[in-house]
């Protein structure tokens, strides 16, 4: 009853994007259909090599009008092998938004009908995964100048995970205190939580299974 974007239109648009992206070297893309809850959605999943990232990013922004950088996630996989030690996942959205026009001195809000959007205005979800090999200081090219929304996301990823961004202007600690020692990135797997090894805290929080010191001793 309510108007929403139709799945088939999204799927076609996603397929168009993929056909174009596949021409870039080092990029593999596919459309994945996920069903969660009661609705299906079509996502574009791209796996990119770190060297081709900027080229792919510029193509996404200019040609396919992917204008919204949602989130940048950095993951540390110490046990996944030397090729996939660090993973970066970028999430983008295509919103299909333009500034509303000014008609006769008043701004006319754009009320677009979601069932009738076409071409580069169909909303899409895009996920880009980049794997970096095992190293002490992983680095990737920054996309701060392409999407301004990536700015603070990159700062946070460096702050918490430790992945550096080459070409990022004004990198600083954004969530941890400024005096945190350089090189401390808590989301790396070698840093454990406080009380991590206190298993009895989870297994037996109230102490019901605890027995006296001299249990089993013959008295």
């Amino acid at each position: 009853m309510g108007k929403v974007v139709s799945s088939s239109a999204q799927r076609e648009s996603a397929q168009e994007l993929i056909n174009d992206i596949d021409s870039i070297k080092g990029v593999e893309a596919e459309v994945v259909e996920r069903t969660n809850g009661t609705k299906t959605r079509n996502i574009v999943r791209i796996i990119c090599k770190p060297e081709n990232w900027r080229k792919l990013a510029k193509r996404l922004k200019k040609k396919h009008k992917i204008d919204y950088c949602s989130m940048i996630t950095g993951i540390h996989w110490p046990e996944a092998g030397p090729e996939k030690n660090w993973e970066l996942v970028y999430h983008f959205l295509r919103t299909g938004i333009n500034d509303p026009p000014v008609i006769q001195g008043m701004v006319e809000p754009i009320i677009s009908d979601p069932t009738k959007v076409q071409g580069n205005k169909i909303p899409l979800e895009i996920e880009v995964k980049i794997y970096l090999s095992e190293t002490r200081e992983p680095t990737i090219d920054s996309v701060q100048d392409i999407w301004i929304g990536a700015d603070w996301n990159e700062k946070e990823t460096w702050d918490l995970v430790g992945i550096g961004f080459a070409g990022h202007i004004g990198m600083r600690r954004v969530l941890q205190p400024h005096e945190t020692p350089l090189g401390f990135h808590p989301l790396q797997k070698q840093h454990k939580l406080r009380y991590h090894d206190f298993e009895e805290m989870y297994d037996d929080a109230q102490g019901f299974q605890r027995k006296p010191q001299d249990t089993g001793k013959i008295k």
């Binding site: 009853m1 309510g2 108007k3 929403v4 974007v5 996920r34 069903t35 969660n36 809850g37 009661t38 609705k39 959605r41 204008d67 919204y68 950088c69 949602s70 989130m71 996630t73 993951i75 996942v89 999430h91 959205l93 919103t95 299909g96 938004i97 333009n98 500034d99 509303p100 000014v102 001195g105 008043m106 701004v107 006319e108 809000p109 754009i110 009320i111 677009s112 979601p114 909303p123 979800e125 996920e127 999407w147 301004i148 929304g149 990536a150 700015d151 603070w152 996301n153 946070e156 918490l160 600690r173 954004v174 969530l175 941890q176 205190p177 808590p186 989301l187 840093h191 939580l193 991590h196």
Partner: protein
Amino acid sequence: MAEMWISMGPQHPMTHGLWTLKVKVDGETVVDTEPDLGYIHRGVEKICESRDFTQITTYCDRLCYASANTWSHSYIYAVEDLLEVEVPERAEYIRLIAVELQRIASHLMWLGAYAPDIGNLTIMVWGLREREMMMDLLQELGGSRMHYNFPRVGGVKRDLPHGFAQRARAKVSLFLNRIQEYEALYDESTIFLIRTQGVGYSKPEEMVNHGVSGPNLRAGGVNYDVRQAHPYSVYHELDWEPPVERPSIKGADCYDRYRVRIEEMRTSANLILEALDRIPGGADTYHEPGDPMILGKSPSRAPEGTSGFHHFEDSRGESMFYIAGGGEGRGKQPYRVSIRSPIFITIPYAAKCMIGHKVADIPAIMGSFDPCIGETDR
């Protein structure tokens, strides 16, 4: 004229949360700003790596404490994407009712906190009074006044209690009448109009480039709503339109953002009333907790290599969870939970909007973007 940096430090009655905004002023005009976050950074993403999927819901409630339900539902949708779970339709309707009630409560908290910054202290009492009404309804659903821990993987924790539908209809209809009182108080107050109109301009394309979404974006005159663009839950079965506001020529100002939120409260109230009419199984039937009508079957382990994410329309914008499976306990715990907070991206943008205005406009602009620092600092 000498320029100097002033720090509107962490303890400040008008910053709506614990963060520092350093402003560089030239006389009374703001020349540069620098926000400083991280005063309540709890490391939730790290803690989640050693908790089961059901235990993390309690942490997600406490991310943005003003709108707890929207965050825990956002997380649960991402888990359901990861584990590929089917959710029964009645559970989706109950979730929709909980989320929209929470959206109204969150906007009321914003309303109650925004007006005292401008100088209108009456609205604080009125906004919190209405919020108590919504919190009563949420307390019936979830069990506590804040932090309900309401959704479960595959459904909800409990069905609508006996008599809830009748009380909800009465309270929400009463609230729809009361919104007119708020509008009257605000729109006829010259001081409020002077302080919020013409202040803090923002244009949609710029906002989208920065990553701003939600009511702040819809105030710019575009009807982008994640519930319509990337539909989830049962929003496609209800008859509604996201509220859009006609901005001024230079962009959306604080007054437009305020108007969008008032309209959003109306939209949410109408959504609740409609959902109560259309819920499958009727709003007056009660199913025991764990009944397949309200809780679907779900696996409890996510093997390595799987991942799930979900975009969700939070009261403040587009929130997102990305969960990578394959953690401890052979997949019972996530390997990495990554949280996208809309306000984390909006605060630098709001800080840019302040440049060029006077120091006295800072609370008006800051408050109109509705910051909630709990979700920013995670």
